[in-house]
């Protein structure tokens, strides 16, 4: 277990302090400990979704589902209005004496447009709220971080946290039994 000194050691040049773990459970425990220690600005990095990790670092957001719901409503309304406008207003056409606003026939298009708009919203909202695409991020300065997409689990306490202190935070992370503790340069 050694400590890398990547930046100049000054908190101003630091993005945060990062600890590496072998398995999701140790990371989950570490995240929970960090939060109960009073740290707020932190993030965990894992090669796959880990249940309960977002809650452990105190993150909660329901904007994706809200936006998808709104998108679905807009899509359904738009799909129906398109059909209605095409056959009642723009191009009225008598088909077998049926009423122009024969709404049951609009249901399939209404449904399809609803699904289309909600799905596009889901993906775009997920990416936008996550701030992706993001060409640069400080965590990639840590060489070992390449394993975050492979088999290792990382916790990063950010320097912007009011409780962040170079030595205290490093000692705290060391106490969690990580494989390694690393400084993350900005």
């Amino acid at each position: 277990m050694h400590t890398e000194t990547a930046g100049t050691g000054q908190p101003g040049h630091l993005y945060g302090m990062m600890a590496e773990f072998d398995d999701p459970d140790s990371l989950l425990y570490a995240a929970w400990r960090a939060r109960s220690e009073g740290y707020r600005n932190m993030d965990a990095y894992t090669p796959m979704p880990v249940e309960g990790l977002a809650e452990a670092i105190g993150f909660q957001s329901d904007w994706v589902q809200r936006l998808v719901f709104a998108g679905g409503l807009c899509g359904a309304a738009g799909g129906f209005l398109l059909c209605w406008w095409m056959s009642v207003v723009a191009y009225p056409h008598n088909v077998g004496g049926r009423p122009l606003n024969s709404w049951p026939a609009y249901v399939p298009i209404t449904f399809e447009v609803m699904v289309l708009v909600s799905c596009i919203t889901a993906v775009v909202a997920m990416l936008a709220l996550n701030g992706l695409p993001e060409p640069y991020h400080p965590v990639f300065n840590v060489e070992e971080f390449a394993r975050a997409s492979r088999d290792k689990f990382f916790l990063c306490i950010e320097a912007s946290d009011t409780k962040f202190d170079l030595n205290a935070t490093r000692n705290f992370l060391q106490s969690l039994n990580p494989r390694e503790v690393m400084e993350v340069a900005t």
Binding site: P47, M48, S61, V123, N130, A146
Partner: protein, 476 residues
């Protein structure tokens, strides 16, 4: 960071029909194994893949020739005429789009049902969906007569002040198929983002790193990102589930809304959807069985996957059989002479009676072998049955489209349809397009979802723990 040596080692043994993953896998080994398929040096690509691609690419060229000829001479180069104006183009359209349905079923519906065996085949079948829908979508456009005016299908403000007719199933089809293609792509691409990040971090050369880096869009596996990602993914699955049912239902409306005997039945939507899943699972098996062998993926696509897929095939095949039975029953029970005649014509009087019985053989009789566990666990037999079902489902579309059209209400307008060499070339050509895209996909993109396999490792495996001993966790 010194990367671990590729640990494709000795773990190529099939763990048997009860396991969804071979023993001894940890997060790193599944990553290496699946990523290794893509990062394998070009000259080490399995020979069968080169050979397969060569054949498929020849067919792509045949397709280009056929389409060029079609553009030059018009749809008259095909065998279509009056009364059979729909011919191969629509047969193939329905067949391809049906094949696509298994991909969405595996990735969305089985995800919602928490079927753990879906994980190692979902990426693969999503790609299959995407390419099958691409092939399907080409046919109605080629069939338009003036394919360069295909944009007229879409409602857009134009100087003619004309609009599509939203009360017609053919217009519903435009919306259903284009939505399906878009959503399938989004689903597939969203699933790939974390794996692109893995490939970016694993890439040995700058070019691969740049390409995968661009596609990963800076994904770094943040817990906050994963939380939103999982919500979006689940919503996509939830929305795709009714979508996939709606798409083939709308395709069946193209037929059942028409008054033609043989088409005008209420059983079409459920029977089309079941048939779609049936043919789709057959195609997944047809593709997965050789690939798992060429790349030695027997420990990731295990016998359990093959057995589960065989069972789904058997189940949906029985629903399809019920559909055939119901058609025959209604022909008699309705007392409608046209309905009755349509069936008699289909089964023995018309010139295509043999296609009907071949269809019964391929879709109903032969797949009954799957009741036996011995058959389900025999890879060559399952592969054989999957090919038979693919043929059978194509015949089903042929019987529905062509046989019904040859006998109109008025005997003076009866006629036989004979496909020309250009019909066959276009059809074989799309098979080439489909297979070429599949081969390129397998070579260039992780064909099994790596991050989801890590979850499988986490849930099933006693994985090798080489870290410092930690205290009992989960303090909360």
């Amino acid at each position: 960071m010194p990367d671990k040596p590729e640990s494709s080692s000795a773990i190529t043994l099939d763990p048997g029909p009860d396991k969804i993953i071979g023993s001894g896998h940890d997060y790193g080994t599944v990553t290496d194994k699946i990523g290794g398929v893509v990062f394998r040096p070009f000259e080490n690509t399995p020979r069968q893949l080169f050979l397969g691609f060569a054949v498929a690419f020849l067919l792509v060229n045949l397709f280009l020739v056929a389409v060029t000829w079609l553009f030059v001479r018009g749809v008259g180069v095909w065998g279509i005429m009056i009364p059979v104006a729909w011919g191969f183009a629509i047969v193939n359209f329905v067949w391809w789009i049906g094949i696509g349905h298994a991909g969405t079923l595996i990735s969305a519906i089985l995800l919602l049902l928490k079927q753990d065996w879906r994980t190692s085949i979902n990426r693969f079948s999503e790609a299959m969906t995407l390419f099958a829908v691409a092939c399907a979508g080409m046919f109605p456009i080629l069939h338009l007569g003036r394919p360069w005016l295909a944009y007229w299908l879409i409602p857009y403000p134009n100087t003619m002040w004309m609009w599509p007719q939203p009360r017609s199933p053919l217009v519903w089809d435009v919306f259903a198929v284009s939505t399906y293609a878009t959503v399938s792509f989004l689903f597939w691409f969203t699933g790939l983002i974390p794996d692109f990040a893995t490939m970016r971090d694993k890439a040995g050369n700058r070019v691969a790193q740049k390409i995968f880096g661009l596609l990963a869009m800076g994904w770094r596996g943040s817990a906050k990102h994963w939380a939103r990602y999982q919500k979006a993914y689940l919503l996509l699955a939830g929305l795709s589930t009714p979508l996939v049912v709606s798409v083939h239902s709308v395709v069946s409306f193209d037929f059942s809304v028409a008054i033609l005997p043989g088409w005008h039945t209420t059983i079409f939507p459920p029977y089309f959807v079941a048939g779609a899943i049936y043919s789709g699972f057959a195609m997944v098996l047809t593709l997965a069985i050789p690939v798992r062998r060429w790349y030695h993926l027997e420990d990731l696509i295990t016998m359990r996957h093959i057995e589960c897929m065989s069972k789904v095939m058997l189940g949906t095949g029985l629903i399809v059989a019920y559909g055939y039975g119901m058609e025959a029953f209604m022909a008699w029970y309705s007392g409608n002479r046209y309905e009755r005649y349509a069936f008699v014509n289909r089964a023995w009087e018309g010139g295509y009676w043999w296609t009907y019985w071949l269809l019964i053989l391929c879709n109903i009789l032969i797949p009954q072998m799957l009741w036996s566990r011995r058959v389900r666990l025999s890879v060559p037999l399952v592969f054989f049955i999957s090919l038979i079902v693919n043929v059978g489902m194509w015949l089903e579309r042929f019987v529905i489209v062509v046989t019904s059209l040859t006998r109109d209400f008025v005997p003076s307008s009866w006629g036989m349809y004979y496909p020309t060499v250009w019909d066959w070339s276009t059809y074989a050509g799309t098979i080439g397009v489909f297979l070429s895209l599949m081969f390129l996909f397998i070579r260039g993109v992780p064909a099994i979802s790596i991050f989801e396999m890590r979850e499988v490792v986490h849930h099933t495996g006693p994985h090798v723990d080489h870290g410092p001993a930690t205290e009992p966790t989960h303090a909360h």
